[in-house]
Symmetry: none
Subunit: 205 residues, 4 copies
DNA sequence: TATGAATGAGCTTTCATTCAT
DNA sequence: AATGAATGAAAGCTCATTCAT
């Protein structure tokens, strides 16, 4: 009698198509027509499932943030020590990826630029970054504790590592050869370890 | 009798106007009308001095790269030791800036996104990044040499620091409070020093 | 076993929903989606019960015309003298109404505008107006006869009163405070009475 | 050297074109393309001279209101007595018009409908109506004074006449033969005179 | 050099209508 | 009878670019 809803599946398809088109053409040039074509849908359908183009973008941001979380949890499953967890995190973020990874990274760079100029995008982007910062900060603190170091600097260190990763995304997407994304994982890890070792010992109080 | 040519001055004004509009609205929304208004010029004049809108953007990229060079040289003038020079470099790139700095930083982030999708922009962007990498690499090698360390890792370290700075630009522009630009200078410097100290000693060969 | 046909009930619901949406948004902005939502029905159902959106509009016009007739007959039931009947008519048309009345009045104004541009709507609208004119004309003639006046001018007077009422609908819907609908009843009645009194006496021929 | 602005002339052309298209097709169907074609201009030019389609509509409303004022003043120039002035006013509003008049009348009817649903249009429409009411009220008061009548009812009478005229516009535009516009002038005048004569005498206070 | 009007392609969005279920 | 997804043709609006002055 009644037709069954398929909105969620369609929304996912559309979001994925936006990610794909944005990666190479940017947000402005990711026209509704282009996204529809990429998804193999009629253009009008996009506005049936989404109120506006911007809503697709916002959905993409949260979708990518969620994907990052899931990927970390997946890799972290096998980890045991705090150091393994940190490693898993960096791997999940900047580990050597397949073809899809490059697309995600480029899309994320475009999102970053949109976050600068669109308040609605900035909001979700900021939330995603804050969550990352929180998580990374905690992972670092655990590493520091394990080695009996003070955890005072963990948040600053997390911010530095986060910046390094975001910058690696940018450079990997916009330049060729100068800095591969995967390469950033090593740098970040090295930086983390040097900083952890350099942190003062926590004295028993 | 003859009109005094003011093309260079006009071009500079227009480039500056693009930078200003891009910082808040991005490249696509930086319309010729908006740029003209910001520069206090008639819209038609922009296409008299530039062949296309993209040409203004390309000019802005080289203009900003040159500005960065000049700023470093200016600050570096007082420097004596390799460490002072490195410090000067980081200061020039991510040192505490005034209001204008935030605009430049945001514009640079937008340029980074455009470099991903426009080949012409990518070319000049890449050249600018390569030059930076070269310079920073050299500065780091000098520091390493001064401390009798091997210089093998200087280029990788430079890449990591560059990524950190670019990422700091991004986060500073798109989030509030999470990561101020100026803050990146300290992180980068700390990272540099830790890495230098951790580098193996150069043995006399 | 057999499904109970409810087409008529559904049609009425849909017509009522169009009236409601049109009152505030006009005909063009009364989208099928909006009408369906107002009626609490699925959008697709509207085209099952009506061939087109315009058909709903045409049905609304006749529906409102019928409603007007019924309302008059209802109020007129208690009337005895020609003057009472005239009074009843004006009361039915522009008498103080409840909330629903404002909606009906506004919808009628929108219908009037559509009648100007859509031939199909104009046809039924014109028929409705002609019927009104006929009725009012007759009511006035009766009043004139009762007072032994010539009935020559009754049709012109009816037209003037009709115009006044339509204009009152318009002003009541588009302005606030300047002219309440209910207020028009008094003006029309006064005009009618003055005109009746001023009409020449019918001489026995 | 510089091109001289012609915005005012162009705006007038565009406004006139909207009036023309609206008269037969209504506001929604008066597309930018249609208006441009009617005016013999490129579609894009309309948005160069007007920020939005609605702004053209609002301009048309004030333009028509101004035109009405000028027309009255022109006709009133020859008038001497208060009665002549009243006559001139009604003539200016509903007097037999040429072809252009029918267009203006139809356009005004469409504007009335838009005023119901668009706040911005309602505002200027309301202002125009209020001005008319004020003027007509004053004219009627003068007539009453001349005949030593109390002026208490002048505003109510003005409202009734205004409604009658607006209704005549509607009926004249949407029906054929039932009520010509020009015919309303006589009805209104007759109503005015009957009311004036029926008004109580002003006693010397 | 400089102005600002003009052009037209292309954008996002809306929507009546159709149709598979 | 009923559902809600799907379609595609417009709609209003934007904008780089051109051009007459």
């Amino acid at each position: 009698m009644s037709r069954k809803p398929n909105t969620e599946a369609r929304r996912a398809e559309i979001i994925r198509a936006l990610q794909s088109v944005m990666a190479t053409h940017g947000y402005e040039k990711a026209t509704i027509q282009a996204i529809a074509k990429e998804a193999g849908l009629a253009p009008g359908l996009l506005h049936y499932h989404f109120k506006s183009k911007q809503e697709i973008l916002v959905s993409l941001v949260t979708s990518l943030a969620d994907y990052g979380q899931r990927r970390f949890e997946q890799i972290a499953g096998k980890a045991e020590s705090p150091m393994d967890l940190l490693n898993a995190y960096l791997e999940a973020r900047v580990g050597l990826g397949d073809g899809a990874a490059a697309e995600i990274v480029a899309a994320w760079v475009m999102i970053g630029a949109e976050a600068v100029r669109q308040a609605e995008v900035r909001e979700v982007y900021q939330r995603a970054i804050a969550t990352e910062l929180e998580l990374l900060s905690e992972l670092l603190a655990n590493c520091l504790r394990e080695r009996q170091r003070v955890t005072t600097g963990s948040r600053d260190l997390a911010a530095a590592l986060l910046a390094m990763m975001e910058g690696a995304y940018q450079l990997a997407s916009a330049t060729s050869g100068i800095m591969p994304v995967g390469y950033a994982a090593q740098s970040a890890l090295r930086h983390a370890m040097l900083s952890i070792d350099a942190a003062p010992l926590a004295t028993a109080s």
